[in-house]
Symmetry: D2
């Protein structure tokens, strides 16, 4: 059984059914009946007026969000382990026309207000230095930690005080919310978030994420994002097939149910890896100490995963699993000689 990534899984059956149901003639691009329901579906979910676009990938959603929040000569405060920094081949620089990422350290890939505030103090307000114009955080983080509503609000206060746009990469937003048990609104716009990349593919979708804008400037930013989406070749001819997937996720509870399953699987694994955990397990990723010998033992039993540097490994669970289905690996972890 593979624990490489949640993007290696099949598609959630309800999503496949939604795709099949959308397989008819309708207007092209986003002129169809499904795309027209996105704003409403997300407004209901977030308990406020939301402007929503389907977008091909999380990288595109992040980059288009940043392009709407930060000018080419501006900077984006972010974590040094953020996906936008290490795994997007410079996509934010492409979409923002050269804006500068400003990576900062922080435990578990979480940004803290102190570190951000200190960084902001170092920037002279002259034309020689790149001014910070946005903050971007990932929730759940790249190390599987969740920002709580208070965590986000503290950064949101900083953003407002300094006139910075505030973006959240929510590739695993569902997993974070499932862990926090809060309303989606509490950890986003109520805490100052302006734009959210709402992930679907890792959570059981096939193709397509959602980009959401909140607040007073939402309509203007969404209109600009529509330009970027077209201009970057992301306006699909048959957008209904993306919209249908997203609606299947969020018009009901599927997004949350899938995330809960993945989280429960991760907790079950964590139970087998006591003493090995490099980070608390709050979403669907585990980072564990694991020697080469131990890894070999697990692989010999048919489990596979990515090594994470020396003597460590990353295990990612997904929507198609639950505590029971990962029990064999949990048991195998427990049974490791020095476990």
């Amino acid at each position: 059984m593979h624990y490489f990534s949640d993007n290696a899984t099949p598609v959630s059956p309800a999503v496949m059914a939604a795709i099949a149901a959308a397989d008819c003639a309708d207007h092209g691009y986003d002129g169809d009946a499904w795309s027209a329901r996105l704003d409403g579906a997300f407004s209901a979910l977030f308990d406020t007026s939301v402007h929503a676009l389907w977008i091909a990938t999380g990288t595109a959603a992040n980059s288009i969000a940043l392009a709407c929040l930060c000018p080419p000569y501006g900077g984006v405060i972010c974590h040094e382990d953020a996906h936008i920094v290490v795994d997007e081949c410079g996509a934010p620089g492409f979409f923002t026309h050269g804006a500068t990422l400003m990576p900062l350290p922080g435990e578990g890939a979480k940004l803290t207000p102190d570190v951000v505030a200190d960084r902001l103090k170092t920037i002279r307000p002259d034309v020689h230095q790149v001014p910070a114009r946005a903050i971007s955080i990932t929730n759940a983080t790249e190390y599987g930690l969740a920002y709580s509503p208070d965590d986000v609000a503290a950064l949101g206060d900083l953003a407002r005080t300094h006139g910075l746009g505030f973006h959240m990469d929510g590739a695993r937003f569902a997993n974070a919310v499932a862990h926090l048990g809060c309303a989606p609104a509490d950890v986003t716009w109520r805490a100052g978030v302006d734009a959210l990349s709402f992930g679907c593919v890792k959570n059981g979708g096939m193709i397509g994420e959602a980009l959401l804008f909140f607040g007073e400037q939402a309509a203007a930013r969404a209109a600009e994002a529509q330009r970027w989406r077209k201009r970057s070749g992301h306006l699909f001819s048959k957008g209904r097939y993306l919209a249908a997937q997203i609606l299947a996720m969020v018009e009901g509870d599927l997004w949350l149910a899938n995330a809960r399953a993945a989280n429960a699987a991760a907790q079950a694994l964590a139970g087998g890896a006591t003493g090995r955990l490099l980070h608390p397990v709050q979403a669907n990723e585990l980072f564990i100490r694991l020697s080469a010998d131990e890894a070999a033992i697990l692989r010999a039993q048919g489990f596979d995963f990515y090594d994470w540097g020396d003597d460590a490994a990353r295990l990612v669970t997904n929507w198609s699993q639950d505590a029971a289905s990962v029990a064999p690996l949990a048991q195998a972890l427990r049974a490791l000689p020095d476990g």
Copy 2:
């Protein structure tokens, strides 16, 4: 019955089946078994070594191709009615970092060697002027005409002589080949084409086109294109769902069969529109003279389509039709009072 566009149609059943068949766990991005078969499938189809990538949309395929062929300070010779000029919101400028489109006139949206050669003569070889670095043509053209192998080769000669990259937008490549009855190779690399946007979505696909590179520089350009694909947010997490669609098209005859059906439907309509045709009908688009009154008569019978300026209309047929299924519209056209 709608004749708005071939992108408003449902997905070809074989493509839906291929998607379902790919619905399992595999490696992410393009590390899966389906993506690995693309080079081979297209190499067989084109009778030469081809480097192929799946790409989200035709706009992206065109733009990434141009980014591989033309530097930011270069120019792209193209037709003034080309999709890259009028319908992509400046996407080529985005991907090429500001390269200049050099639009030229030509009957039926076809570029002719004379017009191209004349334009090239006007460019001074100093640093003040933008040097032409690529030619881009659309086959079939935006007005439904096909470039024959000889047509393409004449432009290919110009390209080689002047050191220009040569790109073909093949959003309706299948329709062109179905009309020409030639080998795909004859109208592409054997005629000097370096890069082809091979369209699938208008021809029965759901999401995903192919970008092909031919010739000695194919491997290097494809490697660069992979960077652009990632950097522009087009590297899907679950690329197997795109690859599977494309393979369903080209590992058998589906791409050609679908195009033949659409073309046959167009010919049937053309038979009903004798005397009205603004351009020869060679693919699956008709541009016809049609007064407002005539359009109203047709719409009253349940046919719909786009007006094309004053007193003209565009009718697009698609893979799900054939001569029989469009017979009612052909008859209605014939029956128009002044038809």
Copy 3:
């Protein structure tokens, strides 16, 4: 004697003196005493509050102006013979991150309201097409014609109606004003111009043009332009040497006196070229019919200039000349066998 271009001339003595007078220690960049006087000097000249920056070149001034007026996905209405189209190697595309120039025809390189209005009508207001966001005109034009205050105001009305920024390339603005005899204000902000590239180098300066912003958004646009100036490597360490040149031009009448001299020289030549003029002579450029044999006759007498296609030539006069100093060429033109 050479009539190649007004950029081949030496520097006006008063400008050289100003440079020498600025040769002392002061703060770097634009923190010096000379740079601080620019806003005031231009505000006085234009009879309104002006925000002014020194800029390295006219190409940079034009491009930075356009970057402040047009987003990357927007278009700039301009003449097909405009310097920004044919002589800047795509610089506007570089600075605007890929905005689209929308070249239009017009006698003598002048845009007319009708042509602009017709072009605007062709643009669909959907995301597939590039929306026009700015108009750029050159005054005096590339063919030496001046836009009158009424000419400019008619385009300014269009710009305001359609929400377009309005830029004027004034590489030879002084020559235009000298010809028109109007207040500088009349042909710029009073006629709707938002940004002016105010040329100095062709008019006797050494290095440095001025970029001026007018109107309610002037301060915001100038602040943004300061970012672009730095970001594009145009913020000189010793900016005082540029500011001093510009002030030498505009704190007195030098800019106008120099332009009048050049214009008078052009008129004197025009008097010798009756019947040969391809365009009215309103500034300091003449475009004349001239066969290869005639050109050879003139060159044999020591006059030189650029051929302008077949059987035509361009003669450019400059600030260091006057009617008397160009009398020999005027006479030589008159004396041509078929003159």
Copy 4:
């Protein structure tokens, strides 16, 4: 007396004389007699075939060099205190179309091979990560230290091994060479440097730096740089005034003589600041511990300079000084109560 920066000084008299001598008519842009001598002058100075361009500013020279060495999806290894990182408002991102700076730590703003090699090891060779494509160092560094020929060669070896372009920001190259006493060639191309921003303005020039390319690809890169220079608005109409300044510097010993004077002044100050130095003094910059009270004492005596964070100051000497002229400040430093 001010010690703010070497860009606040007047122009070297020989440079002013060269400007005056160039004040005549010649061809525009870089078609003049002075510009034509640049390649030869630098080839003589560097004892190899050099391709040289005049460029407006150091920021532009650095950025254009990087644009020639690094693709938009690549990264530039550099020091975290480098001018390109902290003082150019993101200009490298603008010129490279979004390439990623990869800042690293190092004593005295010097990069060391170990730190660079470690960073290179962290980069996965997949399309998700930005590949390093260039190294950029500053010599003398932003803290006034010189890289020796061996220092540079060690980095040059790394660059060659990893296929990276190698750029040197030489805003104070003359000061470094004056300190090292080596041949210019030894610390540049013989040590693997591909492109050098050769500074003039801080060393007594008015406007204009030189960008030099070495090695087999020099001609191709210089040709590309000429495109970037034009496209970024840096191709001055009257380039002869820049070329003349640069020639005045390098056809004789002026560049070295000026740097020696500045360095000697810095050594004299260092002699007065024993025990206060935060970095060794090898060029013309001193960074010293200095309390607010001490700074006030010096300022009361008419000396001024920039504070450098808390309890520190930066003193920059320049070409117009020597040991004698800065003796009063050296003495004042010595006389500080706790000095």
